[in-house]
Assembly symmetry: C2
Homo-oligomer: 282 residues x 2
């Protein structure tokens, strides 16, 4: 149980994290830090936070500071926070990339008070209104560079995530970023590109709207995701994402070649191979 928790950012992840803490009785008070007055008001109104304060004051009052803002701004904001915290406080982030942040904080004298985490949950929506109850249950949470955080605070953070219903996995930051490129980032690029394909070429929007039942929604759903979140993720993880994206394009070109050459057997093989994904996702 924390006396006071600050969430930096009052959006999808931080807001859902706050709701979970409140629902489970893990925080007496939650303070919100946000750059915009509109978000602060909305977060108060929705009960995501009990009070909105400027960063410095919020950090001073808190036992736990939980940062969930776009991964590019995370780095300077986190440095500012780390310069403020004492040996009695805990800092954690929820960012979708981990190498850049871990590298940026590597030599900070308070590095031990920070735990790098990535709860693997999200939706295509953003902002305070996107926060939901019971968001994280049944999902994985990655903790990176565990050995660089003080053991007692790792235990506390793990304990929070476990109470949220998550299973904990450990990885080094670069491995995390590579896996994240495969299981999340490429799916978003695919979805953005698919949306653009349809918007570009299919001029009869009524027809899409009318017919969009055949697998389209689930594949294109992620294309509604917020660029403020995703541009920095792609840029920070660009090497891994480029790797996966190049492979994905070459896989698509195989399908294209099959159709061009009417090579039914190879098309059959490609699809049978893809079916093996059943081994991995239920």
């Amino acid at each position: 149980m924390f006396n006071t928790v600050t969430i930096v950012g009052v959006g999808l992840i931080s807001g859902s994290f706050s709701l979970a803490l409140k629902d489970l009785g893990l925080a007496r008070k939650v303070i919100g830090v946000s750059r915009t007055e509109a978000s602060r008001q909305k977060a108060l109104e929705l009960g995501l936070i009990d009070e909105a304060l400027p960063l410095e004051e919020a950090v001073r009052q808190s036992d736990l500071i939980y940062v969930a803002i776009p991964v590019d701004v995370t780095i300077p904001v986190m440095k500012q926070i780390m310069d403020l915290v004492t040996e009695k406080q805990i800092v954690a982030d929820a960012g979708s990339t981990k190498s850049a942040l871990c590298n940026a904080l590597r030599d900070h004298p308070m590095r031990g008070r920070f735990v790098a985490t990535h709860p693997m949950w999200g939706t295509e929506y953003s902002g305070p209104e996107a926060a939901v109850h019971d968001a994280f249950t049944g999902r994985a949470c990655v903790i990176c560079e565990k050995s660089k955080s003080d053991p007692e605070i790792v235990e506390k953070i793990e304990n929070v995530y476990r109470q949220l219903g998550m299973r904990i996995t450990y990885m080094d930051a670069d491995n995390h970023d590579m896996h994240a490129a495969y299981v999340s980032h490429i799916a978003h690029i695919t979805s953005f590109a698919l949306a653009n394909t349809v918007l570009e070429k299919e001029k009869e929007e009524d027809a899409i709207f009318e017919l969009a039942g055949g697998g389209f929604e689930s594949t294109v759903r992620l294309a509604k995701s917020n660029p403020a979140m995703w541009v920095p993720i792609f840029m920070q993880n660009r090497e891994h994402v480029l790797d996966v994206l190049s492979e994905h394009i070459s896989q698509l070109r195989k399908f294209k070649a099959c159709l061009e050459k009417e090579n039914t057997e190879y098309l059959q093989e490609l699809i049978e191979h893809a079916n093996q994904i059943r081994r991995i996702i239920k």
Copy 2:
């Protein structure tokens, strides 16, 4: 209300169609036609059909013959059925492509007894076990070349689909195939290719399994789909699918170029453009 309905194929679509007819009291008896003894047994066991018969005998006994088998075999089987039916019977299909079939039946003397339909519903599963109750509710059903079917049978088929909870849309067959390439076929290719990308490059399957929460499942779900169904769809609709696939690859290359050149602004633009899909899907 039909006295006797034959479903040709006892899988996802035909099985779900049969369940819907039974649930709504629209068929006194459903006969199943299937090439394999295992499917016939399974369909009987699951209550999808009341009896399994060879095609010719089943057609002879039926008021409505509903065909939902892979689109390549649909053509010869449908010709066989059309050669058997009388002016008192109705034939409909549920195939995902419509041009090839409509063209094949264009000059058949019994063309008027056939309605070309495509109920826009499906899952990544196949076979009798994949059939579910209440499958079609809220989805669109496309009817092609309406004017070539006898008006009174179009009315009957529309009536069935409406009772199943579907809204009816009319298109010519080629238009249907083009729209289907956009709203369904390309999403399947994308998903197959994404599965192959991950299976090819991500050797740590445990990590995918553990982490697959971040958008991966919804995008790759369709990759579990049956090649026996999809190879013929892609081949029959290859021109439209190639068109859309080429555009999709060029859209992906834009993302690739942005990452290679670290062009943040253009990346932002591409994602903002993709976000406009919100206009079309809720």
